[in-house]
Symmetry: C4
Subunit: 216 residues, 4 copies
């Protein structure tokens, strides 16, 4: 049952924005095969978030399919099963005080997570694109993107994520090895900006590594 504090208007608008963002990211090939998930906070106390359902094509998702869930991933409003990774979104929202969390699966983020998995992360610096990350004022910024081992145990994965986010408070995103990228923002617009920037940089790093290893 929907909390009396959440207006239908705001949930509906957030749901529409989430669906539109999903379609945009799917169009780029970052949410193929129903992969990826998106969330946006509808209410902070108690926490209620708009969440994409599990197993739905992100290229065709409609606002009516977006679910309203609580911080235990229970469905408060809507029909369907929330994303398997809902608890990871909740973890990030709580710890980073985020307004939205996005998770993409792209070929480049997958490949790069593989290359740097043993190092537990990778550093990206010197790119102007970094300035689009919240709080970053200059391209001479060193962004560390942690890489976490993947797991099917969501509570375990959530705990690992939480530890890494505590260890790396300045991080704007993190990679799950051979799984995908998580980023967040104070609102959905900022989260989308962050995901686009990090995906761009991971592709640039992947291709540059490629060229550099071959003598360039």
């Amino acid at each position: 049952m929907q909390s009396a504090h959440v207006s239908n208007t705001s949930f509906s608008e957030i749901a529409a924005h989430l669906a539109a963002t999903a379609k945009s990211l799917h169009a780029r090939g970052w949410m193929l095969g129903t992969s990826g998930n998106l969330s946006a906070v509808v209410q902070h106390q108690p926490l209620l978030i708009a969440m994409t359902p599990s197993g739905v094509d992100k290229g065709e998702i409609s606002r009516e399919q977006i679910l309203l869930v609580d911080d235990e991933a229970s469905v408060v409003n809507g029909t369907g099963k929330p994303s398997d990774e809902t608890l990871l979104h909740v973890e990030i929202v709580k710890q980073k005080k985020a307004g939205a969390v996005l998770h993409t699966h792209s070929v480049w983020n997958t490949i790069v997570s593989d290359i740097f998995a043993d190092e537990g992360g990778l550093a990206i610096e010197g790119y102007e694109m970094l300035k689009g990350l919240a709080g970053v004022k200059t391209h001479e910024h060193r962004e560390w993107i942690p890489i976490i081992d993947n797991s099917q145990d969501m509570r375990e994965l959530g705990a690992t994520m939480s530890a890494v986010l505590t260890e790396r408070p300045e991080a704007h995103g993190l990679l799950l090895h051979r799984h995908g990228l998580y980023s967040w923002g104070k609102d959905l617009r900022e989260a989308k900006r962050h995901i686009e920037i990090l995906e761009f940089l991971l592709e640039a790093v992947g291709r540059t590594l490629d060229l550099k290893r071959r003598g360039n």
Copy 2:
């Protein structure tokens, strides 16, 4: 003449869904130059499937162009010549009890089929994307994608496909060497999810192989 058991409504809806799916896959470059084909079961007993016609631009196909064919590839309803590969679709529908079969030609699936042709297939494991394949619960899954030699003899190719599907009942897709990818699902939605996942993974493998051979 249309079978009395097939309602116009359901065939029309299936045809519309097939046409929309074709456009989506063509937009990704997976059905260029009228390549590829799509089918969806309209009726099981006797078998009647909605099939894309031969030689039609998959980026512009309309629901009116979709044909209704039987299990001998004879046209039951509609105008046009069904895809040359209709019998392969029928083979897969019967053997896998599939509700839909999709066949794409992408640059990466073509290249990867070439690299691993001598080995008769390739194994993909450790990727979270694998979880989107029916029955797969964990990224620690080893998916074997068989690669079959191409042939212009559809009955021979169908027989080879059948043998491989029998030998590899857990497979979710298979490659025809320098030809393309086949996947299927219990319905068109699942088949589309499978094709997107397998195309994604084949690209990731193709690019990773690239980087790994060069010392990464």
Copy 3:
């Protein structure tokens, strides 16, 4: 002044089809920066062809901008300057009895034209995609794509093209070195199918060459 034999309806429809095709090819990145050109025969005797104008963004071109030109590239109907390469289109239409001619500039066709320029062409064989080329019945077909040196002298270039087309009557397309790809068909639909197939194959060849040289 428009020839009395050409109906407004057919020219208008052809122009609309040409504009739509231009947008489709531009969307793929094959006609960026006003590059590329498209033509379709409106009347055979005397020859009148619908031609894209010079310097127009192919992503925004409208049917009203399409010109009607004769075989000397003189504008018979419409406002604007026809493509600089109109005489090449006329050459191909006459020699191949084509109904439409398409010319694309893609990164991959440019790169591949460079790699094989010294050999005067490249052979592509074994790909199922080849079957989409008119007259080709099997993937065990060897398609030779001639590569011609570029030139700014259209009459010289047209003469060279003509000689190559005479020497290679089975060719479905040809490359101009560091310039682009030409293909044609009995109508615009076939020409579009050919261009899509050849662009696909050139990318597959370019990427495969890449991988093969590195030990795959």
Copy 4:
């Protein structure tokens, strides 16, 4: 307050054209994460330019969001903060007498700016695509694209840009190291044509370098 010399109609039309161009470039992945900026001259004396605002998603920007600014980057009409790089646009407009200036961030232009940064630029020659650059009549043209070190000091960067533009009057674009590409034109249409051509050529160079270093 809007200058009395600028008609609402022309500013509104220019703003609409700028927004449409932004969406087109964003769709290609050249303005992800709110990166990039676009400007078009609305009035020459005194200078007033239409400018994209800072921090806005270029895939969703509307004409109402476009600002009218003067040559000190002060907002004359509209709500919002103009792009941080407005002064660079002003510099280019004044020095090149440009009617529009575009700035893109693409993976390939970023990578190539890195490869050739030590050389202060790169030469691109022999490509037919070069003919789309204003004043270039033949593919046997050698285009030098300067690469400037990035800086957060806009006035310093503007001064460096100005010096380079003076030193290289024939340049059609320039790269900021690990930042992006700037190009311009007599109007927005020409600027878009230039950006598309230069992005195409930088990708071709990036990929060719790749292949050439590996023995092709």
